[in-house]
Symmetry: C2
Subunit: 457 residues, 2 copies
């Protein structure tokens, strides 16, 4: 029965709306992933065998080797590495505490922000708190100079989409240090970007402006940010001691890992599915973005296990260095353009391995209408969100007039509890939630492959 | 602004479809719950202060007192207890292990099923495995008599709705012991009803048939069920030792806890929102159903905090003994009928404190159409499922021609990882997911109160 159906699918001409047989194939995809899925075991290998893997690190090299081997074992036609120049930054040790004027020590562990300079020995200074960059500017240089700025801005809990809440607080991490330095600050500490009340500091990328001094920057956990704020209210003269051993080294070469299933009709047209292999250098990079990696590999594995012969070439890409400059995504798109590769679609999973809710997309009106027509086909799998919007950092450089870019939308209420922290570990991933995301992506890849998803009628 | 809007809402006549102002009020409800919500703190009190609370137990008595106090503190108009006769069963200690014919001991911890008889000393017998009740019947008496039956039926991972997978395997727990006894078995052990691979045994209610002997019954964790199955393949003569100290005592009186906000226009018409206060006697009954309890209380608290004056009387009910006979739900509905109380709607949350996805409902076509029209109003809150179907055990006895019964639908992929086990603890509940469920329920209660949700046009 199974192969008879597959033969039928391969013979019927593609058109732009779902066919009756599609619902059978989608069910087969879900069954394959839920019954025989390998993504959870692959994630365990990656998280427990290698752990975190910042681009430029030795662990990232090991992860690249692991990724290539895993794709070969999965039986992809072609597996290769694409060289990418990446930065190399090392966190080193960090120590931090506050001392009240009465001499009481308050332990306030921090995580240096990615890209921060070190302190060159211990930095000790008074602290000035601001709730936003706007409030910081109002304080002015006279009150800031010589102090450590404490940016205590919380993510907005009223936003249903936690990604939007993250976007709203992101500026204190990305620009906080440089904005503080503009007013003469000697260091910057921020409240972690999380909605949880806990003791995990969350790191993440920061950028320095060219026109101001580079001052060290680090994140406090949400609970410790509250503690520090309370302590400052009682004693505005308390002194914060910060010792960060961060170092930056020359850029180095690492690799995107690429695997393919060659297309039977249009081998030179590509549907790319991927996530980023690198993670921050704490935790295990499980949700961010180990899940996206193993889900993408599972998409090709499941379709192959079902005996499906794709019309277009399906590519699985493990991008390197999403977190710290998007070098992998930029390199991949640039080389694709140079080689004249036609990408008809790309799908990214980089929102955590949670229950999938739908897909965001960047493309033409016609492509978006195609996506919306999948509504009833995917309703049995509780896929209900079809929205225009951001797809993913790694695939964004592929944007042109032809390609349709998709992001897997998941239930992201818990995502920032884990994101960029020691709490982002394998144990926080639920097997079924992970597999359902992979199955949804595989279903979408199959449907794109059948339709060709043209940009215009 | 806020009070001006509320005044408007109170003056406009009710009609059956959502009004423009409704979207403002729904947003205010979400804001109130997400910014000032108390349900998470209440859940901590219940789970960490009292813990599990099987109906008939001393802990359940403490939970009843806690519930009444919490409702009084929340400022409900009227708070009272409704006597309910409940069973009293005590698990006692349990020991279990298998010994191979070579004398090797295999530790196989079990949880007695709720209602099981004890073993009256140690029960030692050979084991016969069956994958279903059908397979058990095929084995027949000659191969079963004198043995312990091992019902090793897994929940179907291919079903997207884990509740359906639970329903499909439920028979081994509810009827397994009596079906085994029919063929002369001396005991029954089952694979726990869970989709997770772990070492938590999951308990739950069982029933004995009147016409067969009562034999003891217990559940193995999913991992231990696999271990036992492998051990049996190697050594079909291994002996299982089971010692359960379960005891049943005479029925006793406990209480539904009821709190109200009196209606301004229709005080004798009720909208009831609730969950069950009792839990199984292991873990902390966090997802099942501490979450439903605290969410229901939060519904009334939030509406009151917003200054909303309900037209109908809003009732929050903590039902006692859902798990083991539904005495609370039956008593509540019977007394409501005896008093001539008109229930226009009831809403139950008993699927865990996970991200809400929508509502199931039992009611007339007209009421269902009313529900479906909330689609666009609730889309910003990611509420997309509006389905006819089962609402909840506690409120089911209220069913009549007038009432609309609703169940909160949540993302239930993880639910059975926790359900009825030592893993159902406060730490497994995410604050935001819990609060979003409560806000969705409060929005629905508000919209029902505005419309009156008539059974017919």
């Amino acid at each position: 029965m199974r192969y008879y159906l597959l033969l039928l699918f391969t013979l019927i001409a593609p058109i732009a709306r779902p066919q009756k047989g599609d619902s059978v194939m989608v069910r087969m995809i879900y069954d394959e992933v839920l019954a025989n899925g390998q993504c959870y075991d692959r994630l365990r290998e990656l998280c427990k065998g290698i752990g975190h893997r910042l681009a430029g690190s030795a662990q990232a090299e090991r992860a690249i080797d692991w990724g290539r081997d895993a794709m070969i074992k999965s039986g992809f036609d072609t597996v290769y590495l694409q060289p990418v120049e990446v930065p190399r930054w090392i966190r080193g040790q960090s120590e931090s505490a506050a001392y009240t004027t009465a001499g009481r020590r308050i332990d306030l562990p921090v995580a240096a922000l990615g890209g921060s300079v070190g302190t060159s020995g211990e930095l000790s200074a008074r602290v000035i708190e601001a709730r936003s960059l706007e409030e910081l500017a109002q304080l002015g240089e006279s009150r800031i100079r010589g102090k450590i700025v404490f940016l205590n801005k919380a993510m907005d809990p009223l936003l249903i989409n936690t990604g939007a809440a993250y976007g709203g607080a992101y500026d204190i991490r990305s620009r906080g240090a440089s904005e503080a330095a503009r007013f003469g600050a000697v260091g910057c500490i921020i409240r972690s970007l999380t909605l949880a009340e806990d003791r995990y500091p969350h790191t993440g990328a920061m950028q320095y402006s060219e026109d101001v001094q580079r001052i060290p920057a680090a994140a406090l956990s949400s609970v410790d940010a509250r503690e520090l704020s309370i302590a400052l209210q009682a004693d505005s003269s308390l002194v914060f001691h910060l010792n960060l051993h961060c170092e930056e080294f020359p850029r180095t070469i690492q690799y995107n890992v690429i695997g393919e299933l060659r297309g039977s009709l249009f081998p030179d047209e590509y549907i790319t599915v991927g996530g980023h292999l690198d993670s921050w250098d704490i935790g295990e990079g499980a949700h961010d973005d180990g899940c996206g990696i193993v889900q993408s590999m599972e998409v090709l594995r499941a379709l192959r296990a079902l005996g499906y012969r794709p019309r277009h070439t399906l590519r699985c890409v493990f991008f390197i260095n999403e977190e710290f400059g998007n070098d992998g995504g930029e390199t991949y798109a640039r080389e694709a353009r140079e080689k004249g590769e036609i990408h008809i679609a790309a799908i990214e999973s980089d929102g955590g391995g949670f229950t999938p809710r739908g897909f965001s997309m960047q493309g033409t009106d016609y492509q978006y209408e195609w996506l919306r027509r999948l509504d009833s086909l995917l309703d049995p799998y509780h896929i209900h969100q079809f929205r225009r919007g951001w797809s993913g950092v790694d695939i964004a450089p592929l944007k042109d007039d032809r390609v349709a870019l998709f992001g897997l939308l998941v239930d992201n209420q818990r995502y920032f509890d884990y994101h960029h922290s020691n709490n982002d570990v394998f144990e926080q991933v639920n097997r079924r939630e992970l597999e359902l995301g992979s199955a949804a992506m595989a279903a979408l890849v199959y449907l794109i492959d059948r339709s060709g998803i043209p940009a215009q009628p």
